[in-house]
Amino acid sequence: MISRPAVQIENLSVKFNGMEILKNIHAHIEHGCITAIIGPNGAGKTTLLSALLGLVPCSGIIRFLNENGDVYPPRLAYVPQNLEFDRQSPVTVLDFIALRHQKKPLWMGLSRSTIEASQEALEKLKVSHLLRKPIGKLSGGEIQRVLLAIALRDNPELLLLDEPISGVDVAGGHLFCDILEKLRRQRQLTIVMVSHDLSVVSQHADRVICLNRSVVCEGTTVEVLTSENLFAIYGLHAGLYEYETKNPPIPCDYNAKDKTNSSTAL
C-alpha cells in the first residue's frame, strides 16, 4: 500500500495554564483512511483534534497535504461528541441545517432551496424522516447521523469526529461506522476519529494513533492493537478477539471507481 500522508504532525505541543497536555507529537494521517485516535482519559485525544481544527494554540507543525503532496488548506468538517443544548428547545433538524445554509434569519422563514437542500443532505444518510423533528427529541445515534449529514454538506476533504459513538448503542455505533466506511470508500474521504471503543476501532479503522500525552505508537490496526500496546496504554491486560466476517476489511487506498458492489452513494 502506498502511503500518502494527508496530515503531517511534527513536534506538536499544547499547553493549558502551564500544564503540558500534548508533548512533542509526531504522527501522520493518511489520505482516504479512517484513522482512530485512542488512549486513556486525559490522554489529549480531543486536544489533538482541537489542534487539527485550529481551536487551541499550539507549538510545532501541522501540515495538510493534497494528493500531490503539496501543502494546502483542506476543507475540514467536524462532528462533535454531542450537542450542548437544552433538550426542550424547539429547534428542528431543518432549522439546524438552515442555520448554515441560508443567510436570511430563521425568524423570517425558510426558503424553498434551504428545505430542499436539507432534505437532500439527510436523504444521503437515510434520515430524511427526521427533517421536521426537534433535535431534542432525537436519539444519540440519530443526532450523530444528522451531525454527519451537516458535516458532509460542505463536501469536506478531511472529516474529524470526536467520540461519535459514545452514548450510542452497539448496533447504532456499528451502523454509524459502516456509514463512515462507505464514505471513505466512495468519496476517498480522510477520516480521523477519536474513540474509546476498541472493538469499533479494530473493525472499522485502518490506522490507529495511540496517545497518552505523546504518541505511544501508531500504525495499522493490526500492528497497534496488540496486547502489549494495550497494556502500555491502559495499564491493563487486554486483548481483542478476531472473528470471521463476511466483509473483509478493504485497504484504505481503495479506489471508489473500481468498486463494483458499492451500495447507495453517500
Partner: protein
C-alpha cells in the same frame, strides 16, 4: 424638541383615532408606541437569552443599573443613559471573565452581580438625597415616558432589528454547539460580546418600562411560554412576539382601568400566559 414632536405627530394622530377615549392622552400614546417597539424585540432577544441560558446574565445587567444610576447622578449625567452604558460595561466584563477564568458562568455572574449592586447601593447611601430617584428605576413607569424617549426607542429598535437580521442564525448556532460554531467560522467570542452589548442596551432601556426588578421577565417569560407551544424556531419567535405584544397591551389596559402599576401588570399577564402554555406543552 420641536423636530421630535414633528416626527411623532403622525403616530400620535393615528393612535388618537382608536376608539378608546384614553388614547387621546399623550402619555398613553407614548406608552403604546414604546411598548409596540420594545416588547417584540425583548421577545426575540429573549428566545436567544433562553436558548443561550443567559437569563441570569440579563438579570445581572439589569441590577448593575443600581451603580449605573448612582454614577450618573454623581457625575451629573442623565442616569437613563449612564445605566445603559454601565450595563454594557458589565456585560463585556462578564463575557471576558468567563472566557479567561476557570469559573463557571453562574459563579462569574454571581460575583459581578452582587458587587455591582453593592457598589450602587453604597454610593446611593453615602450621598444623601441621591436615593430619592431610585424607586423610578426600581419599578419603572411606562406612563412617564417622554417624546425624547420615544425617539430613542425608535433608534434602539432599528439597531436591534438590524442586529437580529444579521446575527440571529449564528447566535442560535452557538447555542447548539460552541465548538462546532468556531469550526464553521463563526467568530464566537466577538459575537457573544456584541450580543451582551445589545442585550445591555435593550435591558437598560426597558428598565424605564418595567423597572430593574422585573426587566428580565420581559425577555424570558414570552420566550419560555412560546417554547412550550412551538414546533420550530420560526413559530417560537413569532409566538413569543405575539404573546409579548398581547401581554403589554393587556397590562397597559389593566393599569389604566384597574389603577395598577403598568410594569407589574404586563409581567403578570405574561406569567398567566406562561401558565396556560404549560397546558398545551408540545416538547
Amino acid at each position: 424638541m420641536q423636530r421630535t414632536k414633528l416626527i411623532l405627530q403622525p403616530l400620535y394622530k393615528f393612535l388618537s383615532l382608536l376608539p378608546f377615549e384614553i388614547m387621546q392622552a399623550g402619555f398613553m400614546q407614548r406608552a403604546v408606541i414604546v411598548l409596540f417597539l420594545l416588547t417584540p424585540l425583548c421577545a426575540i432577544m429573549g428566545t436567544l437569552v433562553v436558548q443561550l441560558r443567559m437569563a441570569f446574565f440579563s438579570d445581572a445587567i439589569a441590577h448593575s443599573a443600581f451603580t449605573g444610576v448612582a454614577l450618573g447622578l454623581i457625575l451629573g449625567v442623565d442616569p437613563r443613559f449612564s445605566l445603559i452604558f454601565f450595563g454594557m460595561l458589565i456585560g463585556i466584563a462578564i463575557m471576558r471573565l468567563r472566557r479567561k477564568g476557570d469559573m463557571a458562568m453562574d459563579t462569574t455572574i454571581g460575583i459581578i452581580f452582587s458587587t455591582s449592586v453593592a457598589l450602587g447601593l453604597a454610593i446611593l447611601s453615602a450621598k444623601k438625597g441621591l436615593g430619592r430617584d431610585l424607586p423610578g428605576f426600581l419599578y419603572g413607569d411606562i406612563l412617564a415616558i417622554d417624546d425624547g424617549e420615544v425617539v430613542v426607542a425608535m433608534i434602539l429598535s432599528l439597531i436591534v432589528w438590524v442586529f437580529l437580521a444579521f446575527c440571529y442564525n449564528n447566535l442560535l448556532f452557538i447555542s447548539l454547539h460552541d465548538r462546532l460554531a468556531r469550526v464553521v467560522g463563526i467568530k464566537v467570542d466577538a459575537l457573544e460580546s456584541v450580543f451582551a452589548m445589545v442585550l445591555a442596551l435593550i435591558v437598560g432601556f426597558s428598565i424605564r418600562a418595567v423597572g430593574i426588578l422585573l426587566v428580565t421577565s420581559l425577555l424570558v417569560i414570552p420566550a419560555a411560554a412560546a417554547r412550550n407551544v412551538s414546533g420550530s424556531t420560526f413559530s417560537l419567535v413569532w409566538i413569543a412576539v405575539g404573546l409579548s405584544l398581547f401581554a403589554s397591551m393587556a397590562g397597559l389596559a389593566t393599569s389604566v382601568f384597574v389603577d395598577f402599576a403598568a410594569g407589574p401588570a404586563i409581567i403578570l399577564w405574561s406569567s398567566g400566559m406562561f401558565c396556560v402554555s404549560i397546558c398545551f406543552k408540545k416538547n
